[in-house]
Each structure stands twice: as structure tokens, then as C-alpha cells.
Amino acid sequence: MRSRSALWYILPIFIGLSVFTVGPVVASLILSFTHYGISETPTFIGTANYVELLRSSLFWQVLGNTLYYVLLYVPASIVVSLALALLIEKKIRGIAIFRTIYFLPVVTSMVAGAIIWSWLYNSDIGLLNYILSLLGITGPKWLQDPHWALPAIAIMSIWKNAGYNMMIFLAGLSTIPKDYHEAARLDGARSWYRFLYVTLPLLSPVTFFVLAVTTIGAFQVFEQTFVMTNGGPGTSTLTLSYYIWQTAFKFFDLGSASALGYLFFVLIVIVTALQFLIRRKWVVQQ
């Protein structure tokens, strides 16, 4: 049965989709070829924005910072999430409470998490360096140290987000048939081997999903730098998202910011496509 009235039902979403997503995707491509200050009319300048960006050393540094952050954050965050999932997988008494606690940072806003951790990271009177000093370690200056600021943001983000991927891993673990573990146990496989040769391969489709989504999210890191460092000290935590926002809304160079946005988009697409390409090498098809 064909239906005309369907139009009315999808109209709101369709308007939103056109006005806030499809339109802007096209518009920002056009804007990326213009010179456009916030209160002037855009003038067409061809590929000048892109050429200028690719020639600027700051762009490459920002790109480097972003990739460095992704490499710091993604593998560690996935390992931690999987470990948490394995820890709360067993149905023992009180496990629901632990699951709730591990998920608490996820429901908290990134802003709140970032503010709390800025205080923990305080190099003079912060709790973290105090705890480290009890262990005989002199903690770094964290957010004030160009070498430590980005790792500090990564650590905070792992704390904040691990519970999310933990839940997805937990859902994945619950789909692995018990018989497989049982059979491996009867063959005399110890728990570490069962993890390596049963759990990990059967979990690999879920791990792939987590990897793809977490990587995209990591590239977009914005709120942490906005609250904790403003890109500093120096430019050590200036990442692409923050740099795009800064170019557009601090320096009012909307043309260049649009070009940056598109380069960013292309980068994410390439990285995601690469992940799909090497998927076959390690993901077990069932």
C-alpha cells in the first residue's frame, strides 16, 4: 500500500536533515574555496585555502598532535574496556553494583570530568601527584608540561569513556556460546589460552566495531582541550577539532576553517576505509 501521508510523518526529520546536515555539507565545501570573514561576503579564491594550509607548519603540527592523541588513546582505551568487560562478565554477587560504578563516568559530562581532572592534575597541590609522592614518584607537571599534557588528556578520556566500550564488549561476550569454552577446557586449555584462542577470535567482529567507532571519536577530541588546556601549553594539545573551532570562531576565518573541516572529513574517511580494508586480516567471520 502506497501512502501519501507518509510524507507528513517524515517531514520534520527530512527538513532537519536538509537544513542542518546535507545543506551544510555542500555549503562548507563551497565555502572552503572562498575567503570569508564572519561579517563580509565570501569571495571565491579557488584552492588557496587548501594550499595555504598544506604549506603551514602549524597545520602539520596540529595533525601530528591529533594522530599522537589517537595513538595514545585508542589502543589503551580498548584494552582497558575489554579488561573491564572480562572483569564484570562473571555473574557473581554484587556485580551489578560494580557495573553501575564503572559506567558512572560515561553518564557524567565531559566538562565535569575535565574540570575534576584538571584539579586532580594540579601540579602543586593536586591529589594525583600527592598519591604518586607517597609511592616515591615525583609526578610531572601534567597539564602545564608540553610533553605530558596530551597523555594527561588521554588518561582522563580513558577514565571517562571506558565504561561505554565495556558495555559493548560485555554484549559481545554474552553472544559467545558456552560450549566453545567448555570444549577448550576439556581439551585441557588453561584460562589464558582459552582467552587467546576462543574469546579473542570470536569477539573480533565486536572489537572491530569498537575500534572503528573509538578511532572516529578520538579524532574529534574537542571538549577536553576546550576545558583543560585551550590547546596549550604552547601548541602541544592543539588538535584538529579545536583548531578548526579556533580558526572559525576566534580568528573568524570561515573559509580556511571550512577547508580544514573538509581535510578533517577526508582524513576520517581514509582512516575508516583503511580499517575496513585490513578487517579481513584479523576479524573472524562466523
Partner: protein, 283 residues
Amino acid sequence: MGRPAIRASKSLHYIALLVVALVMLVPFLWMIVTSLQSPETLVKFPPDLILTSPKFSNYSEVFRDLTIGTFFFNSIKISLLGTLGELLAASLAAFAFARMEFRGKKILFAVLLSTMMIPFQVTMIPVYIIMKWLGWLDSHASLIIPHFFGGAFASGAFGVFLLRQFFESIPRELEDASRIDGASRFRFFTTILLPLSKPALAVLALFVFMGIWNDLLSPVLFLSSEEKMPLTFGLAILQTVQHNFRYDLLMAGTLISIVPILIVYIISQRFVTNAFLRTGVKG
């Protein structure tokens, strides 16, 4: 394994669980402790781990001096209205995608889902310009009205996806029966389908509410005056602009911003877990 070995491995398991729980909770506990410090005890090093005289007046001070009350009210208003709008838009579209046939249905659905992949960095400048044209800059309209059309940066795709799944699970005979009784399709939608879908709507409401309450990007892009800001933006400004800010008050404000979402989460955490187990991996 013998019994003692099982017991030992079980205790080890609990110890590991507790250690991780401690790591997860310490930042929250430290926020609470800090929020009750006085300016003198705040700067002490090594810090007092136990409070000798908690300063509860910090909380009234936060409401009096920091416009936290205004931020809080703004957050409530924006999140509630935005959630309402997104539920409306998503459930209408999900109904059409689940139960009606129309030209371009499959393509449209695919386009809708693929918009989830588009990063905000690409669309935010044109969206900002659109808000300027509409005259919504520095007004709550920019943060609320887009949700009645699926949202400025998410296009409601997640909600449509979630609800469509649920609507499809409701037997078609129900609709046929109500149509035979003379009810219009829209009447079936409002009086039968939506009430039956309360569990799915609740999960979606929770996610959307949490998303709006915790969002920093949209307020940062569209708002400029302090009295319009929600908690996220207001607190972020207090943290970044006033560098020597008193962390005791900032932590009290942060705690106030977390409490509503914690209450909602703890009440509904069973639903959240189930939602993850059912839809989490499909993505």
C-alpha cells in the same frame, strides 16, 4: 580446581573489582571532598584526605554568587524541551519507516543513517550561519527548536533507528484491527502504538536528555551571554576564564551539574544495560 583454590580466585576477583571501582570513584569522591573545603584548607599540601569541618555553606554560596542557579534552570529547560522535540520527530519518522510504503523509502533511510558518520567539524560553520540568518544566535531557540527536526548535529538518526526496530516488533494485526474499528492511522499511532512503546521511548528519552544535558559544543557555538548558558558552558567558562578560581566552589558547581543525570541514570540503569545488550553491537 579444589575448593580453596576456587575461593582464592574468587577473592582475587573481588579485590580486582574493588581496586577498579576505587579508581573510577576517587575523582568523584575528591570532587565532593574539595567542594566542602574552605579557601584555607583547599591549598594545603599534603591535602587533608578527611574533612575535619566540612563547609556546607559553599553550596549556598555557589547559588548566590555564581549564577549556578541560572545555569541549572537553563540546562533543565533546554534538555527537557529538546528531548520532547526529538522524541516527537523521531517517533513520527520511525512510524513511517516501520509501517508505510513510499517512494525512496530505502534510500532516504540509508541517507539518514549515513548522516551519523558526518563529523560536526564539517557542518558547524554553515549551521552557525543558518542560526544567524534565523536570528536564533544567543537565544535558547538555537538549542531547542532544531531538536523538533531531529537536532542540529545528529539529525535524529539514532532515535529513528531505535524506534523503528521497536515499532516493527509490534504485531501488524493490532493496526489492522484498529483501522477496521474506524480509527485513522494517526489515531492508531497516538493512542495505541506510542503507549505500547513506552520502554523504547524511555530509553531514547534517557539518551537524548543525557546528550543535551552534557553537550558543550552547541552552546559554545551559538550562545554568548552568560545568563543564557547551560551548566556545561557556564562551568567551562568558570574553569578556563578565571584561572585562579576557587576550586572548592567550582567543584560544588560541578557536583550540582552531575547530580540530576546520576539520579536519572541510577533509576533507569536496568533499561540502559538492556538497551546495550540488545542494540549496542548492531550500530
